[in-house]
Structure formats: C-alpha cells, structure tokens
C-alpha cells in the first residue's frame, strides 16, 4: 500500500468513526500543484503556482459545524490529532437536523474518479517548452512597437486534486487550470497605459496560445489609450462586451443570491425570490459543469455533484446558490456551490461559472442600432453589495458610439455604478454571441477561488463615471 492509499484508508476510517458519533461527518483532502512562469524579457522566473496541500475534517454537532484542518498528512499524527479534537466535541440532542447524511464507504462501489478530458495534459509538458512559449510570446509582443516599454508574459498551470469522503460518497477529481496572459505597457514619454490579452480555463495546454493578431490588437488598444479621455459622469446607453456582461451577472445576482447571506439578513434578494428583478428576456445561470470554465469542477468541496442552477428565469429570481451549511441552517435548496479557498479556510456558498445566456441580436446590429452611447470593453474588476444592491464595475475602457458607429474616441477607465434592479430591468437587447472569461472571486476581500463570468453582449442603461 503506497502512502496515498494509506492516508486515504486512515481518513476513511476516521470519517466512518465520526459519522457514527455525529449527525454528519466528512473529510476533504485537497492539493494544488503546478507551475507559474513570468517573463518580461529581462527576467524569467518559474516556481510552483499557489501550492497547497492539506486535509479538513468536518462534523456537524447538531448546532454548529466544527472543523479540524491541518497540513500534516502523516497518518499516525493525523489520527491522533483528529481523535483528540473530536473528543472535545459533543452532540446537541435537540439540534437542527442536517440535510442528507449517511455512512461513508471508503472502499465500496461508490468510489468515483473524475478527470478532465484534454489533448495535452500540462503536467506532461516539459518546463523547457513552457519557458519557450512564454519567451516567444514576450518577444513577439515587445517587437510590435517602439513605444512598448514593457511586455510581460505570465503562464500558469495548476492541477487541483480533491478527494471527498462523506455522506456515503467517495469522490476523487483532478481538475487542471491553464492561464496565459500577455501584458503590454506603452508610454508616450509623459504617461503610461497598458492593455492585456488573456486565456484561461479548466482545459489542457493545447489552448495556451495568443495569436499575432490578438497581440497586435492588444498593443493597438494600449497605444490608443494614451489618447483616452475621462468620461463625463452621467447616465448612458451602454453596450457591454461579454466580459463586462459576466461581471454584471457575477456582482448582481451572483453574490447577491449566495444563500449563506440569507440567515445573516444581508441579501436583499431574499425578499425578491419569485419576483421580477430583470428584463423578461434575461436568463442567468451558475454552472460548475460548463466544460473549460475556469470555475469548473465535477463535485464541490462538500461532495455535491456539479450541475447547473438557473438563478434568473425570464427575469424572475427563481433559485439561490448554496453550500451544505446554509442549506441546513436556512430554508433553501442545496446546490453544488460549497467551495473553500483551500484547507485553511471554511466552505461558503460560492459562484463557479456565472453567466447570462445568449439572445437573438447580433452584436454588430446592437451597435448599429444605438444612436448615442458607450461600448464598454475589458472588465477590470467588480464589487458586490448584496444588501444595498449597489454595483461597482470597472471597465478598462469604453468607446463612444454615435449614430450606430464607433467613433474611435476612447474613455479610460470607466466606472459603472447603479442600483441592481434598475440596471437589470434596463436590459433592452441580448446578443447572440457567448464567451466566458476566467477570473478570481473573493467573498468580500478574501476567500479567493477560480471562477469564470460571461455571457453575450448586452445593451442597457447605467451610470458611468
């Protein structure tokens, strides 16, 4: 028996023992490994990308969830630590019943192993080839224009390995995530601007590429941003690219419908379940099972198998997203959204791949039919406000539209603010395209997990500044 098998056997036995003592018990063994490369022409660096490895034991005692988390995976030490910790816990006789439940069967027929199909597993690609990829991209970018003062390439791949044992389930998954970013910084001598091209998702090494055309467009936009102006604050008709549409979904009815906020009284959406909150054509989903999505997984950190959750149907809020604790402590449906940053942090209800679904309007027609407005491109960041329903999104730049034509006049950066229902109800056209963008999501300012956001081009009204 190798060390991994021995560890899993011990963990399975511990979960089995705990499951007989408490209403719920489970364990999650998680690890992340991979490589991160940075190359700016003058420097190269290759190191492990966000390495972590540890285990979490969870028990529900009828009132609270208790967890023992450690990086020490030595079986004997682990067993001693877990038993000493569990001995200090007791079951609350009249506690709230747990949803689900069941006894683990660590070696039984319930064991399932999931892997992502891909053409080239990044773990099998020699480091020399990854360094060459980054160097080639950096040199192609730097050579595009003499005003480029810095071209920086970041490549990373990470494989997230997870084993969940609990609720009669024994699940194992291996999810790779690949990301390639080219950042181009330009200067006219008095100021600097930048733009970037990025690829990212739960896919293989075969998708780690950025074409010459994309690099040229990236450099052109960076150079044009040297002439960008500040936008006059006010309300505008806007068209959002898929990246910004996605951040809108994420910040509005993504964070706003995380069920763990409901018992805290922090989500205004709680009062709008079953009510119209967006234009009637709007459909919105969270779906960890989208192939290639940066937030993809086969099961969440509580062993719930991935499946789509429709959040908005015809503009009506129909379902929140939840983790095990929030679905137990608050009335709601358990969805596969229990995620933790790593073993050192607790599980929360978190988004995965969150998006608006496509509609009937070609993006070119959307622009052609707009008399005056702003085409917002390239999402930089967003922030949620589930209780106040305010929204903050920063677009890297926007381009003026007059009489159905893009004028070439750029504004940068552009802040989008507004009241969530007002913005979502103002959606007047939904594009026929669809794209997902890779990103990272925090709960407040911490608890970072990989996600994607996206959708089609959208037309709406919002306040810009």
């Amino acid at each position: 028996m190798n060390s991994t098998d021995r560890l899993e056997t011990v963990v399975g036995e511990l979960v089995d023992e705990l499951d007989h003592r408490f209403p719920y018990a489970a364990a999650l063994i998680s690890g992340a490994s991979g490589i991160e490369i940075n190359d700016n022409g003058d420097e190269q660096q290759a190191s492990e990308s966000n390495p972590s490895k540890g285990i979490v034991f969870t028990v529900y005692d009828g009132a609270s969830f208790n967890e023992y988390a450690t990086s020490d995976l030595t079986p004997n030490t682990l067993a001693r630590g877990v038993q000493a910790w569990a001995d200090e816990l007791s079951v609350h006789a009249n506690g709230r019943p747990i949803i689900g439940g069941g006894i683990a069967s660590p070696t039984g027929p319930n064991r399932r192993t999931f892997t992502v199909p891909m053409a080239i597993d990044p773990a099998t690609v020699p480091l020399r080839d990854k360094l060459a990829l980054a160097r080639d991209l950096q040199q192609r970018a730097k050579a595009l224009d003499s005003r480029i003062v810095q071209a920086q390439v970041n490549y990373s791949d990470t494989t997230q390995d997870t084993v969940y044992i609990g609720r009669g389930r024994y699940l194992e998954q291996h999810v790779p995530r690949v990301r390639l970013l080219a950042l181009i910084v330009v200067s006219d001598g008095s100021q600097m601007r930048y733009h970037f091209a990025v690829r990212g998702g739960a896919f293989g090494y075969e998708k780690a590429s950025i074409s010459d055309d994309e690099l040229r467009e990236t450099a052109d936009i960076a150079l044009r941003l040297l002439e960008a102006q500040k936008i006059e604050p006010g309300e505008y008709d806007i068209i959002t690219d898929p990246g910004i549409s996605g951040v809108l979904a994420h910040e509005s009815f993504g964070h706003g419908v995380e069920l763990d906020l409901f018992p805290k009284g922090r989500a205004l959406s709680q009062k709008y379940l079953g009510k119209q909150v967006a234009a009637p054509e709007v459909q919105m989903y969270d779906d960890p099972s989208v192939p290639g999505g940066h937030g993809f997984y086969f099961f969440d950190d509580e062993g719930e198998l991935a499946r789509p959750t429709q959040i908005l149907r015809d503009g009506v809020f129909v379902r929140p997203i939840s983790d095990f604790a929030s679905a137990t402590l608050a009335p709601g449906i358990h969805t596969p959204n229990g995620r933790r940053q790593d073993f050192t942090r607790k599980v929360y209800a978190r988004m995965t791949n969150t998006f608006f679904s496509s509609g009937p309007v070609a993006p070119a027609d959307m622009i052609a039919n707009l008399e005056r407005g702003v085409y917002l491109r390239s999402a930089e960041s967003g922030m949620e406000d589930p209780m106040g329903w305010g929204i903050q999104i920063t677009a890297h730049y926007g381009e003026e539209i007059v009489n159905g034509e893009r004028t070439g006049r750029l504004f940068a950066p552009v802040g989008i603010t507004g009241y969530v229902p007002d913005v979502l109800r103002s959606i007047s056209a939904i594009g026929s395209d669809f794209e997902l963008w890779a990103g990272t999501c925090g709960k407040g300012h911490k608890e970072m997990v990989p996600v994607s956001t996206g959708g089609p081009h959208l037309r709406m009204k919002a306040r810009l500044g």
Partner: protein, 459 residues
C-alpha cells in the same frame, strides 16, 4: 485548542532541509523558510455560532538558486556570462517522511537551471544582529481560542449598547505564527508573532428599512481592535447608511479618511519599488518631485517602516533575512530611493532596503474642521468605498461610494452611491494632510487627506 507540542511535525526542520540542500548537486545557493501557523477561527450568524475551526499549517518554502551559462549566450557573440536561475517549492512534512525530499530538490535544480537571470547574491547575517520589534501579543500567543471567546463577548456587549443595531455576522481568527529562516550564506533567524482578524457586519434598522456596515480589521494584538470604540464608530455609520442619499455630481474638494487611504497609496508603493524601476514602468526619478510640478498643497513624506510596534507588517527581518528598518522613500515631496530586496538592489546598484512593510505617511498640520470647511462650496468626505483599487501604473481610479458625507452651508449630510474618480498622482499635487492620525495596522498616517479636485459621479 491543542498546543503546538501535541501536533508538532518532527521531520520538517530547517536542519533537515539545510542538510539535504547542501548535498544537492546544482543547489549553488538556497534559502529555507519554515512557517508554522496555528489558528483558531470562529464564525457567527447573529447570536448563533455557525462554525468553529482549528487550523495548523506548517510548510517550508525552499528557494533554490542555480548558476549556469545562459541558454542564448549574452547576445553579443562573446563568451556567455553566468546566469542565475531560481525557483521556490513548498514542502510538507509528508515530503520528508515519504522519502520524496531528494526528488523534490532535484526537480527544483532542474527548474532553476532553465531560467536565466542576471546574477545576484543572497542576504547575509547583519553584523549588528536583528532589531527587537514587538509583534507577539501574550494573550493571543498563550491561547488563541480563549482570546477569541473573550473578544466575542466584548463584541456582543458593545453591540448590545446600541438600539436598532444588531450583529448580522462575525468572523474572528486568532493566529500565532513562527518563522525560521536559513540560507546558504550562513544566515539563520527566527521570529514569532501573533495576529487577530475581526470581520463583522452590523445592521441598523428603522421600521422596514435596513442598512449594513461591514468592518474588517487585522491587528497584531487584541487590544488594538479597540472593540468598543470600533463598534461605536461602525454602528454610527450603519445608522447613517439608513438615511444617506445619493450624492450630486461634483468636481472639487473631496476628503478621504481611514480605511481607504492604505489602498489609495498602493500605486505609490508600486511606483517606488525597485521592481518597477527595473521594469522601466516607474514614473519616479530620485531627486525629482513625485508630483512633477510644485504641489499646491502639502508635500508628501512617505516611509516603509518594518519596526513600528504592533504593525501587521512589522518583523525583525523580511522574507530574505534583511533586517527591519525604517526607510524614507519620499521626503518632502521628493523621491529619495526605491525599496528593494537583494535581487533588484543588485540589478539597480543600490543598497537593499528589504520588503515594503508598514505604510507610514507623515501627517500634516490641518485640523479636521479646517479640512471640512465648506466656506468656498460643498466638500465631500468619503469614509467607505466598495473597493478602492487604483491602477498601479496609471494611478487612475474609479470606485463606488459606500458611505460619505456632504459638508455644505446647511450642515453635514450622509451620502451613499455614485462613484469617485481621479488619479492618485494628480490628486497628490493638490492635497492637504490632517494633523489627526490614524492606523489600521498596516497604515500609519494622517486620518484624513483633502484633495482639491476629484470627481464624484452622482445624480
């Protein structure tokens, strides 16, 4: 909570790793940083304890350096000079006990041998030793779990003094940490510290109306949370959120206060780094005014201070073993020097200062009531943003306003919503710093800065 000795790893030691590295061919230099955190975590929903966690995280960060001929020569056709490659790996106890250590280190040599960088040397032990700094709270170090229970009791008691304000949720973490550092140049140092994190949300209500205010504090010692005073401030803010109105569009004086200031200065921190200078993306030149032209308000003096008692970035030595010090980066508006570790210091030919530590800004002379004066027109004062996240290269920012105040001839009125936009570097050219000071654990400086010309997008 279990004590450290009960679960202490036995095999993952700096001695074990140093011995293995010394016997690894190709490990021309190395550094080992052994980190151990023991943390108690407590989560509340209202009065209900949702979750309790105990976390032990022990790992070694091994950075290995390999010197070799660069793959492409030096580009001149001359004999290739030496290149230095390096990589960092994280090792666990099981890497040692399962016999994987040699393999992991050999893998690191392979990775390091494939990256080409200009050579640089590692830090050596300082002749005068490391300074004594204050980073460990005995209350947290002795029993993190008990410290949390006590903090929670005080939090509940403080909130109970407020009518129409309730606790929505809270998260408390108490951490005791240890750090051992060794490198191949004979440097050996140890450090212990504590940290407490308090995140809580207050909800104020009046009839059907409710509004929240979210607080997030990180400190080295429990007493610096100032729980009772913090609750009073944030309960007041939560009540003001109930009656706050959207701002009107405004171009003119805006005051930033408190929590927003650390993030506001983040582009300045980046632009003063040796890395930014080496990458040729810094706008600052030593000896020049950071504002370009003569500022119309106060001149900025900004320091990185790793010695400040109880600062969350305070430590006797940085990640490389460079000793803690106070470094003036901008003095009286003039850029003095970049901050840099050994690598960028070597590249730039300057003395290494160590990592950026606690952000320290020299306060000004202005009383708060003078800064708030609306004699010449309305002044906005912003106390909370959704997320102040200025662009590190351009300094541009646009950020949603969570809570602020409009000072005008009719009095002071709470506002919320809309956005504030501007540019950090332009704004600093017309700024006045308060005499009153403030600290959030990593920022030590004026409690308020009045900028003459920022833009609020409102109604």
């Amino acid at each position: 909570m279990q004590t450290q000795d009960e679960t202490r790893s036995a095999a993952l030691t700096t001695e074990t790793l140093a011995g293995a590295l010394a016997n690894t061919p190709g490990a021309d230099d190395w550094q080992v940083e052994l980190l151990r955190d023991e943390e108690a975590q407590l989560y509340l929903i209202g009065e209900h304890v949702e979750s309790r966690r105990v976390v032990t995280n022990e790992r070694a960060r091994v950075t290995l350096y390999n010197d070799h001929a660069p793959a492409g020569g030096d580009g001149t056709g001359a004999a290739p000079t030496t290149a230095r490659g390096f990589t960092t790996q994280t090792l666990l106890e099981s890497d040692v006990t399962d016999g994987r250590l040699a393999t992991r280190l050999n893998d690191a040599v392979t990775i390091a041998s494939l990256t080409d960088n200009p050579p640089f040397t590692l830090a050596t032990a300082p002749a005068g030793g490391y300074p004594d700094v204050v980073t460990s709270d005995p209350l947290l170090a002795s029993d993190p779990g008990a410290a949390l229970d006590d903090a929670l009791a005080r939090l509940r008691a403080a909130i109970s003094n407020w009518g129409n304000v309730r606790l929505s949720s809270a998260e408390l973490y108490a951490t005791r940490s240890s750090r051992e550092l060794r490198n191949s140049r004979g440097l050996a140092a140890t450090d212990r510290g504590t940290q407490v994190f308090l995140d809580f949300v207050l909800i104020a209500h009046e009839g059907e109306r409710e509004a929240e205010f979210h607080a997030e504090l990180t400190r080295r010692r429990i007493s610096d949370l100032m729980i009772e005073g913090t609750v009073d401030s944030y309960a007041t803010y939560a009540r003001h959120m109930l009656v706050a109105q959207p701002p009107t569009t405004h171009q003119g004086p805006v005051i930033l206060t408190g929590d927003a200031l650390l993030s506001f200065f983040s582009p300045v921190v980046f632009q003063t780094s040796g890395q930014a200078a080496f990458m040729k993306v810094s706008r600052f030149n030593s000896g020049d005014l950071v504002t370009g032209d003569e500022p119309s308000g106060d001149r900025l003096t900004l320091l990185s201070d790793a010695t400040r008692p109880w600062g969350t970035k305070t430590a006797p030595f940085d990640r490389e073993g460079l000793p803690a010090r106070q470094v003036t980066l901008i003095r009286d508006g003039v850029f003095v020097q970049p901050w840099a570790g050994t690598r960028y210091a070597t590249y730039l030919g300057i003395h290494p200062t160590g990592d950026f530590a606690n952000l320290t800004v020299q306060p000004g002379q202005w009383p708060m009531d003078v800064l708030r004066s609306a004699a010449a027109g309305p002044v906005y004062e912003i106390v909370a943003f959704s997320w102040m996240n200025p662009d590190p290269i351009s300094g541009d920012f646009t950020v949603e306003i969570k809570l602020g105040y409009r000072h005008d001839a009719t009095g002071t009125h709470p506002i919320k919503g809309g956005s504030l936009s501007g540019n950090v570097f332009t704004a600093l050219a017309a700024a006045r710093f308060s005499a009153q000071t403030y600290s959030d654990g990593a920022y030590f400086g004026p409690a308020a800065i009045r900028f003459d010309n920022l833009t609020i997008s409102g109604e």
